[in-house]
Structure formats: C-alpha cells, structure tokens
C-alpha cells in the first residue's frame, strides 16, 4: 500500500495514488503530478518510487 503521508513533509499523498497509477499508463508522470497538486519534490518521489506489492502477497494470507 502507498504510504499515507509524505515521509519528509507530512502531506497526505495516498489519496492521489489511484488516479496517478491509472493516468500514468498513458500520460507523462510530471504532468499528472502537477495536476494532482503534488508540487514539492519530496512528495513527488513518494509517487514516482512506489512499488505496489499488496496484490503479490494477498494470495498467501
């Protein structure tokens, strides 16, 4: 799961994750992040570097 808040500044960024994931399949991540109002580079790296692993582990629970 995406962390609820940015590690550095504490902005709640998890709400933007699902839209980010969907839109970056077609669009440029930089534009999507600007659209979603994620302006600082600390928050932007939260999205850019996140690897979603829930679906990998959920069959074993």
């Amino acid at each position: 799961m995406i962390p609820v808040r940015c590690f550095t500044c504490g902005k709640v960024i998890s709400g933007a994750w699902e839209e980010y994931k969907k839109r970056t399949k077609l669009e440029d991540p930089a534009k999507v992040l600007d659209d979603l109002g994620i302006s600082r580079y600390c928050c932007r790296r939260m999205m850019l570097t996140h690897v979603e692993l829930v679906d990998e582990s959920s069959p074993y629970y």
């Binding site: 799961m1 995406i2 609820v4 808040r5 500044c9 504490g10 902005k11 709640v12 998890s14 709400g15 994750w17 699902e18 600082r40 829930v54 679906d55 582990s57 959920s58 069959p59 629970y61």
Partner: protein, 276 residues
C-alpha cells in the same frame, strides 16, 4: 509589524511578515508545526484482522489520517476534567468494519461525533477474498511534539525577502539572465531588470557568472533582514487561517506564562534580600 498576504487558500498560505526579528518568525513556524493541537487516532482495538497488513501497520495508517478538528469543542487529555481517563470532552471513537474483496477508504470510518470526519480520502488497505477487518479507533487531541500525526502544519517555512541590486556598470551581457534558474532577471532596453524579486531563491548564481563582478560590485543579491516570506500548509484538519492565528495565540500565551514565572522569581529574590 506588517503583514502582506500573497496567497490565502483553504489549506495553504503565503505571506510577507515585515518589521519583525528572525526569532519571532521562527517561533511562529515552530508553533505551527508542533504547538497547535489536532485530533488523530491514538488507540485502536482490533477485533478482527485477516488482511495483509499487521495490526500495527494498520494502526499506523489509521493514525496518519487527518481528522477535521473543531478545537473549541475538544481539550487535550492532560488538561481534561476527567484527568486523562477519557471522556467525550477529550476523545472520539471511530469504528470500521469491512470485508473483501474491496479497497477500504478512510471515509468508511464511522465517527461517534459527526463533526469529526477524515479530511482526506485515504486508501487504508486493499482486502482480497475472505479478508476482513473490524476495529474501534480512539482519536485524541495531541501536539506535533509527541508524534507527527498530530502535526497540523505541513512544510511551514520562511525566507528573507530578497533584495537584488544592479549597478550602472552593468553592460547587459545577459549571462546572469541565462544563469538564473527562477527567471528573476530580464534584459529590457539594454539594461538588466528584476521582474520577480520575491521568486529569487538567493542562490547567487547570477553573482558568480557575471564577469564584471570581479572588478566592481555589479550585481548583488542581498536580503531585507527584517522581512520574511512565510509559506505554510495544513493537513486539512484545521483551516490555514485558524492554524496561523492559533500559533500566534500560542506564542503570546507562552510569553505571558514566562512573564508570570519570572515575576515569581523576582518576588522571591526580593524577599530573600529583605530577610538577610
């Protein structure tokens, strides 16, 4: 002291504070980050959790959800008349139960007080087939001193108002204009002009690239020592206007308290003086 508002939204603000000492601006910043209380989930009773996250991970995610807080109707547990045991004055209970397959969002929390609601739609956990969570969460007031989840202010900071001076020796070669990463300088009518002084990040790259600067002081980046550009943002639990005013109130309250302590010490010293 003068305040000039540049931007004022619901969650973010930018303003210029002039005629103040750096220590005062810094105390405002620190009060916004650590002194203004907000509600956050602090205690969780987990009745059932067969999801992929451990109880502790789930509790952490719950704690980080910003809750809309009416600071006039809640008090800190340490200052409550119940003595911190927990009553309707100092805590709120929120319940959550869900069964997969689905993604559970913060908006599914059912609050005992309808005015206390999650301020953001946060995906808490993705549940698959047969996964179930059922829990009761207790939200309490707290300050950023104790945990970042109670921090109402986000990315609060300030910088001195920049002051860029260009002397008559400038030959308008344009090196500084190309070097500036913020686009603060332009060439107009064969002279270098400053278009957006406040956007300057004080990096002084323009000073470095200027060839004439080695002989004269042609371009100089300085600051107004008693003016500050303050930027502040909240997590949504309280509006930015309230955060700023409450942090200012907090400073004056603490200054008054300090004054009280000092007068007690003064009185005691005087009494000692008379006794000897």
């Amino acid at each position: 002291m003068k305040v000039e508002i540049i931007e004022l939204g619901d969650r973010a603000a930018k303003f210029v504070l002039s005629g103040v000492a750096p220590a005062f601006v810094n105390s405002i910043r620190r009060a916004m980050l650590a002194e203004v209380p907000t509600l956050a989930i602090d205690y969780v009773n987990i009745y059932d959790n067969t999801s992929v996250l451990f109880d502790e991970q789930l509790a952490l995610r719950l704690g980080l959800i910003p809750l809309i807080t009416d600071l006039d109707s809640y008090v800190l547990p340490s200052e409550c008349s119940c003595g911190g045991e927990g009553c309707s004055q100092c805590q709120v209970s929120l319940t959550l139960s869900a069964e997969g397959p689905k993604t559970v969002y913060s908006t599914e929390l059912v609050s005992a007080d309808p005015s206390v609601m999650p301020a953001e739609v946060v995906p808490l956990i993705k549940l698959s087939e047969r996964h179930r969570i059922s829990l009761e969460a207790i939200a309490r007031l707290g300050t950023g001193h104790d945990h970042a989840k109670w921090q109402a202010g986000i990315a609060c900071g300030y910088k001195n108002v920049p002051k860029i001076t260009i002397s008559d020796e400038c030959d308008a070669c344009g090196m500084c204009v190309d070097a500036c990463p913020r686009g603060v300088l332009v060439i107009a009518d064969d002279v270098v002009k400053v278009v957006d002084e406040r956007a300057c990040s004080l990096c002084r790259l323009c000073e470095g690239v200027c060839e004439l600067n080695k002989i004269y002081d042609v371009i100089k980046v300085g600051t107004h020592p008693d003016s500050f550009i303050v930027t502040a943002e909240t997590d949504g639990s309280i509006p930015i206007r309230e955060l700023i005013t409450r942090s200012a109130e907090n400073i004056s309250d603490r200054a008054e308290a300090l004054d009280g302590y000092l007068s007690v010490i003064d009185m005691e010293m005087e009494m000692d003086h008379h006794a000897t």
